[in-house]
Every structure is written in C-alpha cells, then in structure tokens.
Symmetry: C2
Subunit: 207 residues, 2 copies
Amino acid sequence: MKLFLDSAGLGRKVKTFRRKETVFAQGNRAKNVMYIQEGGVRLTVVNESGKEAVVAILGPGDFFGEGCLAGQSICIATATTIAPTTVLVIEKNEMIRALHAEHEFSDRFIAYMLARNIRVEEDLIDQLFNSSEKRLARTLLLLARYGAPGDLHQVLPKVSQEMLAKIIGTTRSRVNFFMNKFRKLGFIKYNGEIHVNNSLLSVVLHD
Amino acid sequence: MKLFLDSAGLGRKVKTFRRKETVFAQGNRAKNVMYIQEGGVRLTVVNESGKEAVVAILGPGDFFGEGCLAGQSICIATATTIAPTTVLVIEKNEMIRALHAEHEFSDRFIAYMLARNIRVEEDLIDQLFNSSEKRLARTLLLLARYGAPGDLHQVLPKVSQEMLAKIIGTTRSRVNFFMNKFRKLGFIKYNGEIHVNNSLLSVVLHD
DNA sequence: CAAAGAGTGTGCAATATTGAACAGACCACG
DNA sequence: CGTGGTCTGTTCAATATTGCACACTCTTTG
C-alpha cells in the first residue's frame, strides 16, 4: 500500500502518537483522512447524556476520518490510539484528487470501503439479533483474532470490562456477569491478559 | 447518473419487479451489483433461529449487492421490492472494470459507499445508545422523510408494526406499545397510513 | 510508604423487554 | 355472503437488563 500512497504523492505528512492519545475529537472540524501505518485506533462516540460507545477498533491498513469526503464537516467520533501509532495524514482535497486520478489507489480505497461496510453491517446485524451474551462472545473472538500471532496487527487485547461494555453496548455489570460465566465454563481465562478458547464459539453458534 | 452508467457501457441489463418480489435471496450466489432506477428495496437477514431483521431500506440511486465486489460469494441478505421497481443489473466483472476505468463512475460509487457507510454507522450508534422507544421514533422520522413530497423516493410508508419491529430490532409487542403511546401523546396519527408529527422529534432528542 | 486511580467481584431492587396468547377490525376473493 | 389472511389492541408472566452500591486488589505516583 505504501507504494501507492507514495506514487500518489501522499506519503508525506506522517504523525506519531503514544498510547492513549487523541488523534481527533468528536466535534472537531473534519479536514483530513487518516491512514494507519502502525499501531491502532479506537473510535468512540458520546451521547447527549454522556454515555459512550465504541464504534470501531482499527489497525494498520485501515483508514479513518473518511467521513469528511462525504461532506461531513465535523467529526462524529473521537479517535484515540490504543497503542503507539503512526498515521498518514491526507488532506481532504489531496485525497479527492488522488481518488480521481490514481486508478490503483482508488481501487484500493474502494476495496477498503467495501470491507469496512461489511464489517459495520455485521456489527449492526449482531446488535439486531443477538443478546449481550452473544455479542460479548463475538467481540472477544474478534479481538482475539485481531491480536493473533502471524497477524500484522500488534495491538494487544488490553481491554477492560468497562471498554468491552462500550463496544457491545451494555453495562459493565452485564459484561462482568458473562465474563465470569465464560470463565467458569472454561471458555476464557484471564488475570490481566484475556485468553480466549475456541470453545467460546459455541456461545455464538448456539441458538 | 444514468449518463455515467450509459457511457460506462453499463446501461443495458435492466430488470423490472412488481411489489413484494424477491430480487435475490440470502444464500444465493452473489454475482451482480444492482442499481435502483425506480422504486425501492428492503434488505433483510434471517437468523439461524429464524428471527428476521431489516438491515436497510433503499430507493432510487442506491446500489445493493455490492458485497460481491469485496469477495463475498454468497448473498448475506434477501432483497425484496417494496414497490414496483426497476433495477440495473451490473455483472461483477463489468463493475470492477468500470470502477477501474471510468473516473466519473468510480467517483460516484465512492461517494455512494461513503454515504452508505455513514448511514449504517448511524444505525449502529442508534442501536448502541438508544432504547427501543427512541429507535422507533427515529425510524418513523426517517421513513417519513423518505416518502416526503418533493423527494424522488416514491415509496410510501406502508409499514406494518411487524416490519417496524424488524427494522429497529425488537418485538411487535414493544412497537405496538410505543405506537399507542406516541399516538396518545399526539406525536403520530394513523388509521392505515402513518402520519408523523415533528413533535416526535422530542422523543429522540430528550435525554 | 501512603494515597489515589483503575479495574474487578458481588449483590440487589427497579425497569425494560420478550414471547406468547387471544379477540376484534379490515380487506380481498371465490 | 362467508372465509382466510393480515394487521392491530391488549394482556401477562417470565426473563433480561440496568443502575447503583460497596469491598477488594492492583499499580502508579507523589
């Protein structure tokens, strides 16, 4: 990918962040598209009433902030790094130009958007269908694969129950309840790191 | 848009459907991208356990079935017309070629995907944050705008409570309960057609 | 070391939600 | 005209979920 970005003249503005830094905040003026080279980012949204939800967890090769291309003038989400991270900052008009002019680049971006769309739709379907128990199981499985060996994503599953609650859209109460249940059943283990056993799949698959 | 489609050599295969016909079904082999010229389509997914959910309601200018471009070989959803409908059928490889070769066309498609992504993310956020009462209110408001005068979408809000339940991901019980509540409060009226008053907004906005 | 902060385990009452049932209204159609 | 189908109004008990509270363990930090 770096090749395309460079040849498209986009490989210039790079920013680095430490863990837990804010790349942009909900309400900021939306001017740039970001591309993650290394590390990872969490997108969160807060309610009028202060409730917080995690919309996405992204890693190397993912774009974010692309909403500005569709005319969104203000960031709907807050982007926070979940590991030391380097991102490519692509100015909106630069991005539009590149998408129009560079075939390979726009092909890649379309592929990315399609994949991203599928993922968000899966998340939505998950919410529409499943109980919080199943959603937690699915999220754990996905996060486990995310940090899997052989995967480029080096983002470790350093996730608190609080954070899990915000990802699946429920309360810590509930998450704690199921985490203990899963542990008692031998589906997961944890002391600081969470170890997910494949048997957890049975929770997702069971009717 | 028709211009681009024609000049891209895509304006040839057209299919027409009556109301409540199936364009493609969940599990079918995914080979084509569809483009709605007239009418409307509802995308639904069914569970292993037979529960059904409405993932999207689309109108003129919308694409669907684009998942096959991202390598999905099988349709995840069922597409059903909700009005007399004409769609353009674009064979997958044709689509890929056109996206690569025709600048204007790929620009349009990217814009569409960005917009669609935002909408699905909004739906997801809605699910993560809000109670079924708020979700119902939001859905009613969106559907009302959908069939608004001056809008090209001519799809009338002929929606049963059952269907509303499948859109917001709850039971008819719940929908009925809130529909009556909204009616008593003067937010909506209905006998066969549903009339939505702007005051319904208060439900969505109130914390 | 002591204090503060973050994360977890637990319990519980107040609500929200499901799932199922049944009756009545309305419409299309033979 | 009657029949079947679809949709609504209404109930209710069984569950699921929230929202809080408090104690306990760590880790960090002054």
